[in-house]
């Protein structure tokens, strides 16, 4: 794709802003995706599956929890983690979601809120891909409003007994361990900030539990007939008198701040991942436009097609720059959650627009799995609403700039 002096994809030479180490991460994950994901992913999507063996391969590469330190994790920078997400999602959002859920949701929850025993017990195996994790926050009736969750953990002697249903849980039925968030009668100690006082009061008793999926009373049922993220396992978790020992509770998480800290990590990866999907669509459209002949010339020679391609290129490069900027801020410890919302809102929206535009350039070919475009386009429809809907991210940014809360 690159000709001397001009890169038709990385037009602004954003790659030159990366360190040598970050470039090696990019090239390594890109090669892995080229060799192991792209030859098979259309079939996985068609069959509605993701091979579990891929988890082990991602573990061997060190991509699972790569931005965590110790416990077998590589301790990479936020930018390096973002780059890995971008390259994985250039393969498929399902593969990136697998890594996001494992590293940024399940492992991060234990890493951030767990005690040493819990970290030692789970993180090395999860980092190696030997144990798969999932993250249960969303419920059938509580998505954007997790504070209202009905899942409830009752103390019974020293044990906890959990009851409730979690929905849209990535990796649910293939997981060895689930991080389940549940309301309890506990008081809200250590609330995150005064600004969250209202949410915290509503969700004061929310606590996180490490639930091995072979626990009695735990069942995961897969969600079928999805038309998006088909190369990804999505499940419903049903907890019916599911008893866990006292050391299953994450000791340091109280209230909604617990799960929200994890979501913030995963959302950061999505800012990059979305641009990976967008890049794949743009590259496909550019290549197609240069070779597809209509009216005796390549369609890339027509003004309307060129305008589409250039508009895609503008947003692709701007979105990639935005991701890198936010990554540098995160590595400097200066990234605010509302800036993560800014990034996810913009980049997923623009990635979806790029995918749709790419589809029009491919014409009828754009709707088949012979090309990656409609696969990415359909995936992005999920990415648009999971990890915080675009509406919620709009309201988070809106609240920051006006000082007025428009959530309720």
């Amino acid at each position: 794709m690159k000709t001397l002096g001009v890169d038709a994809v990385d037009f602004l030479d954003v790659g030159a802003l990366l360190s040598d180490e970050e470039r090696i991460v990019r090239d390594t994950v890109r090669a892995f995706v080229r060799d192991r994901v792209l030859p098979n992913v259309a079939e996985w999507f068609e069959d509605g599956t993701l091979p579990r063996a891929l988890g082990k391969q991602l573990g061997e590469l060190g991509l699972l929890g790569m931005h965590l330190r110790g416990y077998g994790c590589a301790g990479a920078s936020a930018v390096a983690y973002g780059i890995a997400c971008m390259e994985l999602e250039a393969g498929d959002a399902g593969v990136r979601s697998f890594a996001s859920v494992q590293g940024s949701l399940a492992m991060y929850a234990i890493y951030r809120w767990g005690d040493d025993g819990q970290k030692e017990a789970w993180l090395p195996r999860m980092s190696a891909g030997d144990a798969i994790g999932c993250f249960g926050l969303t419920e059938p009736d509580f998505g954007s409003n997790p504070a209202g969750m009905r899942t409830y953990a009752r103390r019974d002697g020293a044990d906890w007994v959990l009851n409730g249903t979690k929905m849209w849980i990535t990796n649910g039925s293939i997981a060895d361990v689930a991080i389940v968030w549940a309301n309890t009668d506990d008081d809200a100690h250590g609330r995150a900030s005064a600004a969250e006082a209202q949410d915290v009061r509503k969700a004061a008793g929310i606590r996180g539990f490490i639930v091995p999926t072979n626990s009695k009373g735990f069942v995961a049922n897969d969600v079928h007939r999805k038309l998006s993220l088909r190369a990804s396992i999505t499940s419903e978790l049903v907890l019916q008198d599911c008893r866990v020992p006292p050391d299953a509770v994450l000791p340091n998480a109280r209230g909604l701040a617990g799960p929200l800290a994890c979501l913030n990590e995963a959302r950061f990866g999505i800012i990059w991942g979305a641009m990976g999907a967008a890049r794949a669509c743009y590259e496909t459209a550019l290549d197609y436009a240069k070779t597809r002949v209509q009216f005796d010339r390549p369609i890339g020679g027509f003004q309307i097609t060129q305008q589409k391609l250039v508009n895609m290129l503008l947003e692709l490069n701007k979105g990639t720059l935005l991701a890198l900027h936010l990554g540098r801020k995160k590595d400097a410890g200066q990234l605010r959650p509302s800036q993560v919302s800014f990034g996810k809102l913009n980049n997923v929206r623009e990635a979806l627009a790029i995918a749709r535009e790419a589809r029009t350039i491919l014409g009828a070919n754009g709707v088949t799995l012979e090309y990656p475009v409609i696969r990415h386009m359909n995936n992005l429809e999920s990415v648009l609403t999971y990890e915080g809907t675009s509406e919620m991210h709009t309201l988070i940014v809106g609240k920051e700039i006006t000082g007025l809360d428009a959530f309720t």
Partner: protein, 262 residues
């Protein structure tokens, strides 16, 4: 056992290649530099042999090139090499096979090795002649096109790939080995390997460290590149109009038969 792998830093093979009409050399600016793909197979062989040998076996990557490209070697260190040595000197510019091999050999004598593993070909120059010349200058046995190798009792045993089958060849160490692409797919660098690579040493040698007794670079070269031309643009494919699928199948079969492909 000290294993040294030679690698060349070449313009990204996926980029469009251009030759500077004045210097007749490949333009190396404005494109990313990567490890020569064949050399990654050589490195994979070295890492496998190191793992099998265990103990104090080490892998050193060696390259000759401009010092500005030094950091490209990090990928080899991330894949698992222990250290890197780079011969960098402006006076090396324009070296042909003979001058290149001579300079590399002098540096490799200084570095020292039990086993030298070299990729069979470079993506840019494609002479394929450096391994043989290197072995001559070093005075070591040269075993090419290896698909398997084993070090036992101070000797190297190699399974070579030929058009007619496989040969098993033995030779004493120190020795030079070139790898076939069937030796094994180069491994991916792991994240931990990438993180660890920045702490591994890259030593720089210049010609003054070597004490050469003949010139290198353009002056020390026995051959000169006098002309170059891009490959001819491929013409349009042949189009055959047929009445139906059966006639089409016959037409394709006849075409393949004419080309002696069936």
């Amino acid at each position: 056992m000290k294993i040294v792998v030679t690698v060349k830093l070449v313009p990204d093979p996926n980029s469009e290649k251009k030759i500077d009409p004045n210097t007749k050399r490949l333009v190396r600016t404005g494109v990313e530099t990567v490890l020569n793909p064949y050399d990654e197979y050589a490195l994979e062989a070295a890492l496998q042999l190191k793992e099998r040998a265990g103990g104090d076996a080490t892998v050193t990557v060696f390259t000759m090139g401009p010092e500005a490209l030094k950091e490209t070697l990090r990928k080899a260190l991330a894949m698992g090499a222990d250290e890197a040595v780079m011969l960098a000197d402006a006076a090396l510019e324009g070296s042909d096979v003979s001058a290149t091999s001579y300079a590399m050999a002098q540096a490799l004598k200084k570095t020292g090795f039990d086993l030298l593993i070299v990729g069979g070909l470079t993506d840019d120059g494609s002479t394929g002649a450096v391994p043989g010349a290197l072995a001559e200058y070093l005075g070591v046995p040269c075993i090419t096109n290896a698909r398997k190798a084993e070090v036992t009792g101070g000797a190297l045993q190699v399974e070579r790939e030929t058009d007619s089958g496989y040969q098993t060849v033995r030779g004493p160490l120190p020795a030079l080995l070139t790898t076939a692409l069937t030796f094994g797919e180069p491994r991916y660098a792991s994240l931990k390997g990438i993180m660890g690579a920045k702490k591994k040493p890259i030593a720089i040698l210049t010609l003054s460290d070597l004490g050469l007794d003949r010139p290198v670079g353009t002056d020390g070269s026995k051959t000169q590149l006098v002309n170059f031309a891009p490959p001819p643009v491929r013409g349009k494919g042949k189009t055959i109009e047929v009445a139906d699928a059966t006639a089409g199948a016959h037409a394709i079969f006849d075409f393949l038969k004419e080309k002696k492909l069936v």
